[in-house]
Amino acid sequence: MNRPKIGILDCGSGNLRSVYKAFRREGALPAISKAVDPEWDGLVLPGVGAFGHAMRNIDHVRDDILSFVRGGRHFLGICLGLQVLMESSEENPGAAGLGLVPGNVVRIEAEKVPHIGWNSLDIRKESQILAGMKTGTYFYFVHSYHADPADEVVVASCSYQGSHLTAAVETDNVHACQFHPEKSGSEGLKIIANFSRLAGDG
């Protein structure tokens, strides 16, 4: 069996161990690193915290991430890792995102922010990363901002106090979820498995 090599980029925040363990559990060969290794089959950018802080932390590998993605290999952004794919964020207006997905990140408009807890997905279109997921499946979210890209890249959303929040996006080999698949129980592990398979298949 081909065990895909999954690189987990350490941008100095949060709990990388759970992401690592989740990939191990789903049969991949994960590695946590501060640099991008061209040998990887897939690149994962997890992250929590502020947009500007994350962009500063990955600034030195920005070009390596972009060339990895442009080379056609699979990328998975988790939580803040989804937001940094965008062009900019209201959270830190001066910081430039990776710009791999057109659009901005905006603050959640709701009575209670942050949006913390388990919310159910509304599947908007078929995707590779959410293969096998049905509308109504619950995932764990923690965030105060959300991406606002063009509708065609949004593969799932969730509703929260009258707002529709972007829950997952996909463009070819770039996949990202606002929720934490590594903290969403067995359904979350299916997404980890989906990404491992995509990365392994090239």
Binding site: S13, R17, K21, K112, N119, K183
Partner: protein, 273 residues
């Protein structure tokens, strides 16, 4: 549609043995040992728990490695959020627990003694990882209630005092006002424990919970007093809690997490099933 109400089993841990062990308290007194914390966490995960909380009841910094070990062994196999509380005093304690696989740490005494800890921890690990836990003792309201936030309760007008050191020492600090300050300082969630109802299994303090929940925009986790599935219903419906924490109802296998969720779902509460 929206967020599901969260059910959080709490594991009180005695870390005096190498792997740690779960304590089942019976009305504060008798302690029964209920096995390996990581095993128990796995069981609750299988039952559908939304999160797991480990509480070091000895709050001992010298046994911090034992808690790290418990968290590591748990998060090897459990892929839901994990919170660690008890004995968290410094930003480095947060970082250490998060590296071990925890998602959040809760602070009680250290936050009251040093409120700047909340802000510094939030800057380093993010607000989402900073849970301020409040042990609130109900007090009959003084005449006129000068300077205290008065709450109407079934026992009459009351105010709530923050207690520290595992509910052993009063501070005079108003718990409702402290909750508001904790949010302002960067707390991501409030774990609101009522000392009076804790261990009584007669229901959460919904007066306190709804007061705090209405004043804050961050989630409020009700704690203390759960003995029946009905108590969860009250915490969500009457207390406006976003999540509810419970220990003994699950430890004694009276109910599984799944049974509680079925009960709530049948009564119109949105839960993750």
């Amino acid at each position: 549609m929206g967020l599901a109400k969260r059910i959080i089993p709490c594991l009180d841990c005695d870390l005096a043995v190498p792997q740690g062990r779960v304590i089942k308290g019976i009305r504060f007194k008798q302690h029964v040992y209920a096995g390996d914390p990581a095993e128990r966490a796995r069981l609750y995960d299988e039952q559908g728990a939304d999160e797991i909380t480990f509480l070091d009841v000895t709050a001992s910094s010298e046994r911090r490695e034992t808690m790290v070990n418990v968290v590591e062994r748990t998060t090897d196999e459990v892929f839901i959020p994990v919170t660690v509380g008890g004995g968290i005093r410094k930003v480095e304690d947060f970082v250490r627990m998060l590296r071990a696989g925890a998602d959040k740490c809760s602070v009680t005494t250290a936050a009251l003694q040093n409120p700047g800890l909340i802000t510094r921890a939030a800057e380093v690990v993010g607000s989402q990882a900073v849970v301020v836990s409040i042990d609130a003792q109900r007090r009959d309201a003084p005449d006129g209630g000068r300077g205290k936030h008065i709450v109407d309760t079934p026992m009459g007008p009351s105010w709530y005092e923050c207690w520290v050191y595992g509910g052993r020492e009063g501070t005079g600090v108003d718990a409702v006002e402290w909750a508001v300050e904790a949010e302002d300082r960067g707390a991501g969630e409030i774990l609101l424990n009522s000392i009076e109802t804790d261990g009584m299994q007669s229901g959460y303090d919904c007066s306190l919970t709804s007061t705090v929940s209405r004043l804050l925009s961050i989630p409020v986790i009700a704690s203390g007093g759960c003995g029946e599935p009905e108590h969860f219903l009250e915490a969500f419906r009457d207390g406006g809690a976003d999540a509810a924490l419970a220990a003994s109802i699950f430890h004694f296998d009276e109910y599984t997490v799944g049974e509680v969720k079925d009960y709530l779902s049948q009564r119109g509460i949105r839960v993750r099933i």
